[in-house]
């Protein structure tokens, strides 16, 4: 049974001011209703004024997704009542969107490249935010700080065939948006997704209100299972809108009034049409992920996997380029394989990591002043300090304080002899030719020396001691 997925993605554009007024978009963590003016509060008599940068950002996306920009586009009113919508209509674009017919290339589930077609992109304003008061209260609280934040809605064709493909598409799209500098993925709720999903031959279900990348895969996986189970039981899938409950990982039907919308679209009489097709040629796109990945491989001689990981986020790629001069391959390995994992573990952003300190750490590793194991320990100390907002110590200082400098084998002879003495069975196994026994003994020594010695060198010392002991 084929799974068919199409997405509508709402992206908050990273402009300084709102779409139709000069209020700042930097509202997170601020008091409610402090980023508001007559326009975004929908006060009687206020008129919208279009933010030029939002249009430029929209066109940048259109160009990056290889879209057509029609000669004329236009804003329209979408009329519906909701307490977070101050004018009781949303200014959006309806039959004359900013751009149409684009493509995004992703990997399908077999690892082959495939095209997801983009139907259209258009500009619209974000509504305010409703806070539901706990405890069965009869009212909601409204904060209009978000009201009027510019959104770019990106609509795909139903070209994805699995929840995993949908996630890969979103990751790819997000990367492109970040490269274009039009979107800040670190802002909470900056990307929200509605997904249409059906099993071939069945009705389509719209899942609304998914506010994270991971949520999309989860919601769709849940829907696929739910719909398959319905069919297995001989029931039908109903065409409906469902809401994703992020906390519980399930979708639930949004029955009732919400489904009978008649939005009564008509052209927004307070704004003039756009004629911006000619602007597209003027746009200088930055280097996009695919181009950067290829350049990284050619310029730095790193692997496809490393190049793909490093260019998956422009901030990460910038970070890598800052420290690659130490040793490009060593830097790629450390950033892609070690640093990323440590960041995820701490839920930290790469932006919080000082590149110069990491470069110093790489120098120590390159000069073999410390071992890889000691390097990891130093890295963790630095990240823990950054995560707590403390100044990041220089790696040399940590090495000195903790006594992590690579030690030569001679320093460990006592430990090696103690380990040999304590493990007669392993020594016996080594003598009868069991190779694994050496690794075991080296591991025991590593444990005792807290990783300060190079495992290869230790291996040499341990076998020397064993040979001596055998005489």
């Amino acid at each position: 049974m084929k799974t068919i997925v199409g997405l509508e993605i709402h992206v908050q554009l990273a402009t300084t001011t709102k779409l139709f007024c000069g209020c700042s978009t930097d509202y997170r963590d601020d008091e409610p209703n402090t980023h508001c003016c007559p326009v975004c509060l929908g006060l009687p008599g206020a008129l919208p004024r279009l933010n030029k940068r939002a249009v430029e950002y929209g066109l940048r996306v259109a160009k990056a997704l290889d879209m057509k920009v029609p000669e004329e586009s236009e804003f329209a009113r979408k009329n519906y009542f909701y307490p977070d919508l101050p004018k009781a209509y949303q200014i959006t674009q309806y039959d004359k969107p900013l751009a149409v017919e684009g493509t995004v290339e992703i990997e399908d589930d077999e690892g082959h490249e495939k095209i997801v077609r983009i139907t259209r992109v258009h500009l619209e304003e974000d509504p305010g935010r409703l806070v539901h008061v706990a405890g069965g209260s009869k009212y909601s609280l409204v904060d209009y700080n978000r009201s009027g934040i510019p959104l770019l809605e990106i609509v795909t064709e139903p070209d994805m065939r699995s929840p995993q493909e949908a996630r890969r598409f979103l990751n790819k799209l997000r990367t492109v948006l970040e490269y274009l500098g039009v979107f800040d993925g670190d802002r909470e709720g900056a990307l929200r997704v509605d997904a249409n999903i059906s099993l071939e031959g069945s009705e389509r279900v719209e899942v609304k209100n998914i506010s994270s990348y991971k949520g999309v895969e989860k919601a769709l996986t849940f829907e696929v299972t739910r719909q398959k189970n319905l069919l297995r039981r001989g029931q039908k899938v109903t065409r409906e809108t469902r809401h994703f409950m992020e906390g519980r990982g399930i979708t639930s039907s949004a029955r009732g009034k919400e489904e009978e919308h008649d939005y009564r679209y008509f052209p927004e009489p307070d704004l003039r049409p756009l004629r911006v097709a000619g602007w597209v040629a003027e746009i200088d796109l930055p280097e996009l992920p695919v181009a950067r990945k290829n350049r990284f491989m050619a310029q730095f001689g790193i692997s496809l996997n490393h190049a793909r990981t490093l260019t998956g986020d422009p901030k990460l790629a910038d970070f890598y380029e800052e420290i690659a001069h130490v040793d490009p391959v060593l830097a790629a390995t450390w950033v892609a394989d070690t640093l990323l994992g440590e960041l995820n573990y701490r839920d930290m952003s790469i932006a919080a990591v000082p590149a110069d300190r990491i470069a110093e750490l790489l120098e120590l590793l390159k000069e073999e002043t410390i071992t890889d194991a000691a390097g990891v320990q130093v890295l963790r100390e630095m990240l823990d300090a950054c995560a707590r907002g403390r100044p990041c110590e220089r790696p040399v200082a940590i090495v000195e304080r903790e006594g992590l400098a690579r030690a030569t084998g001679g320093e460990f002879t006592q430990i090696v002899q103690a380990v040999i003495a304590a493990n007669p069975q392993a020594v016996e196994d080594y003598r009868t030719g069991k190779k694994g026994a050496l690794n075991f003994l080296v591991g025991q020594v590593m444990k005792e020396t807290r990783g300060r010695a190079d495992p290869r060198e230790l291996g040499r010392i341990v076998s020397e001691c064993l040979e001596i002991g055998g005489v």
Partner: protein
């Protein structure tokens, strides 16, 4: 021909209350007006008025906002800087 139940449906769509005893008169008047609007069936030609001026923008430069006090001053009921609204669900 618009019926009384159409009128009730339109009022619902417009989120505008009408009283039961207003419905018959609203219906009669609506039908008289819509009869008059039938003249639009004889309109020939296509297309909306020409666009005229296009591309009217402002630069992405911040302006001062209202204070929270001013923003919520006209609201009928507020709580901790929020504006109270009827519950949606």
């Amino acid at each position: 021909m618009i019926t009384e139940s159409d009128i009730e449906h339109i009022a619902e769509l417009a989120d505008i209350g009408i009283l039961k005893d207003e419905v018959p008169e609203f219906t009669t008047q609506f039908n008289a007006i819509l009869d008059y609007f039938e003249v639009l069936d004889t309109v020939t030609g296509e297309g909306a008025p020409a666009a005229g001026i296009t591309n009217v923008f402002r630069e992405d430069e911040p302006r001062s906002c209202l204070t929270q006090e001013a923003a919520i001053a006209n609201a009928g009921s507020t709580e901790n800087g929020f504006i109270k609204a009827p519950r949606v669900m």
